[in-house]
């Protein structure tokens, strides 16, 4: 068994390698990386100096190998602007992002799964339609519109919650809770839409399975049929989407942190864009991709717990 898990682990290496190549090539596709790094006002001598300093005059595969070795040692480079290592910046900024992601995932799953089951159980009724309308809305309303909408209603008009900012739960739990409500709501909408939709679809599908009929033929009550037989069998696609949706979540985090002025990794990216601080952008993309791949690997391995037919 551990050997098979190891093999599954090894199979993610090509994926990460592809990510690394893409991230590495990103700076090259637009032309001369030295010119980009040196900035808009650089003279040709300055560009040449950057080229030498960063080794852009070496063959590209050599540069790639060197960079990969660096990355494997945990070195994602330094910020062009502050000179701080990217890893240090990530460590400084990770807490708010992690907190926001956690509250969002927990809240979304708690809301979306029951909603989806309800919609499937009552499929074709107004309850089902209401859930589906909500799901389409969740997909369609841009995160920043939601964020500012919530802010307008709850913070500016009703003055119930703080407008912007972040307080660490380790400093002031109450302020943390007040501050995290709106960002969580904002970020959750699209995630809830995604999970509720897939929950409804897969529960609806399992409800048509023969073993549901068997359970009813045994005299089982509907509630148990729904949760013990249907939801349990629908779990694999739902969990899969929760994992795949993390990509969506990361995109949403970037926007949500900007809207609510939360000093997390998302803000780090946005600030890096405005300053054209490429090592930070590169490093963060690599970091997020790694998180995504590892998370989905864990979910893959968890399938064996959900479905005895799946073996690695």
């Amino acid at each position: 068994m551990p050997l098979l898990v190891l093999q599954r682990l090894v199979s993610t290496i090509p994926v990460l390698l592809v990510v690394a190549v893409i991230v590495f090539l990103m700076l090259r596709i637009s032309g001369d990386p030295a010119a980009i790094l040196a900035g808009d006002t650089a003279t040709s001598a300055q560009i040449e100096a950057v080229r030498q300093a960063f080794g852009f005059d070496r063959p590209i595969w050599e540069q790639f190998l060197g960079w990969i070795v660096q990355v494997l040692q945990g070195d994602l480079g330094e910020s062009l602007f502050t000179g701080l290592p990217v890893t240090t910046l990530i460590a400084q900024r990770i807490e708010p992002t992690l907190m926001l992601a956690l509250t969002t995932i927990v809240f979304s799953v708690l809301v979306a799964v029951p909603l989806g089951v309800l919609a499937a159980w009552r499929s074709g009724t107004w309850i089902d339609r209401a859930v589906m309308v909500f799901a389409v809305l969740g997909f369609s309303v841009p995160v920043f519109v939601l964020g500012y909408g919530f802010m307008y209603v709850f913070s500016i008009e009703l003055r119930l919650l703080p407008v912007q900012g972040y307080t660490s739960p380790f400093v002031d739990p109450v302020a943390f809770a007040q501050g995290i409500i709106l960002p969580t709501l904002t970020l959750s909408c699209i995630y809830i839409a995604l999970i509720a939709r897939i929950t409804r679809a897969s529960v609806l599908e399992t409800l048509n399975e023969d073993y549901i009929r068997t359970a009813r033929a045994k005299g089982q009550v509907e509630r148990t049929v729904l949760f013990r037989h249907a939801l349990r069998n629908a779990a694999v696609p739902i969990v899969t989407v929760i994992g795949l949706g993390v990509a969506l979540l990361i995109g949403g985090v970037v926007v949500t942190e900007s809207v609510f002025n939360i000093p997390g990794l998302g803000r780090l990216v946005v600030d890096a864009i405005t300053r054209r601080d490429y090592p930070i952008i590169q490093g963060l993309i690599l970091f997020f991709a790694l998180i995504y791949v590892v998370l989905n690997l864990i979910i893959d391995l968890a399938y064996t717990l959900l479905d005895p037919r799946i073996r690695y």
């Binding site: 700076l27 519109v145 500016i156």
Partner: protein
């Protein structure tokens, strides 16, 4: 024996020796869809209005959307400025109408490009065995990078213009189309009628064209609408984050980004373009859902997510 009884009561018993009900002819898909789904019909109408406004922008009560008028900053709605003015005195209604052009162009262009590129890669990947693992690993890698981040990075290195924005949004969308096409190809390849065509000596190009491609069209039409919706959303987010179309272009994303500064004073200048964006994307998604229900009920299952 009707299909209804077939499914519910007779289980997997071989179907009766009678013809099955006819599937709808492809030509009547759109019209039929609109009749059966009034909400979708309404969504189509909304989209038609938006497209009309985008094409004939100068004719729908607008002035120059980039004309500055510092004297008339942040005015409320009036007969001259239907939705008021922004912090530089520009007419919000005009900017909103011209902004639709950007969203419509980005949505259509990204959907078309992503579908065409994804279709070609997916068809070949599904049929050429040695190509499959290589292409799919590249696609997995692309999908591992959150789409918005990838687009941000692509725009920020290649400079902000509408072309680079479109290209940057297409790249993260392609893997999803490839996966969809490939899954259709893999399942169609196992169909007995495709095997029958192989055994009567049909060469690969004809096989793909006659027997495989027609099966890809319905799910691709549906997927194209979702891609269009997602592209408009991403374009707006890029502009909002300062990595999209140049600020001089009146786009909804840029209007939102500018509205942020004075949000507490003039919230509507942010909310107007935001709501326009939400309505447009909502309409596209509703249309996509109706098309999916009609064309391809199994699509949601096949792609797992959108």
């Amino acid at each position: 024996m009707t299909a209804v009884v077939d499914k519910t009561a007779e289980g997997a018993i071989p179907p009766g020796d009678e013809p099955t009900p006819a599937p709808a002819a492809p030509a009547s898909h759109l019209a039929g869809t609109l009749r059966r789904y009034p909400l979708a019909a309404f969504a189509a109408l909304v989209l038609a209005l938006i497209a009309f406004g985008a094409v004939f922008a100068p004719l729908v009560g607008t002035t120059d959307p980039t004309a500055l008028n510092p004297a008339a900053r942040l005015q409320g709605a009036s007969a001259t400025h239907w939705l008021g003015t922004d912090h530089l005195g520009r007419d919000v209604w005009s900017r909103l109408v011209y902004g639709a052009r950007v969203s419509v162009v980005v949505g259509l262009a990204v959907a078309a490009l992503a579908v065409v590129v994804g279709l070609v890669i997916g068809l070949f990947t599904g049929f050429i065995r040695w190509l499959d693992p290589i292409v799919m690993r590249v696609m997995d890698g692309l999908m591992a990078i959150p789409g918005i981040l990838l687009a941000i990075a692509l725009v920020s290195v290649s400079g902000a213009s509408i072309v680079t924005v479109i290209a940057a949004i297409v790249v993260p969308e392609v893997p999803r189309v490839v996966r969809l096409v490939r899954s259709v190809v893999l399942s169609v390849r196992e169909e007995p009628y495709v095997e029958a065509a192989v055994s009567v000596g049909t060469p690969l190009p004809k096989l793909l064209w006659r027997h495989v491609l027609p099966n890809c069209v319905p799910p691709l039409i549906v997927q194209a609408t979702y891609v269009a919706a997602s592209a408009m959303l991403t374009e707006a987010i890029l502009s909002f984050l300062g990595a999209g179309t140049p600020p001089i272009v009146p786009s909804w994303g840029n209007m939102v980004a500018e509205g942020r500064l004075l949000f507490q004073i003039a919230p509507m200048n942010l909310l107007y373009p935001g709501i326009a964006l939400a309505i447009t994307i909502l309409a596209v998604n509703i249309l996509g859902d109706a098309l999916r229900d009609r064309l391809d009920p199994k699509l949601a299952k096949r792609v797992g997510q959108r």
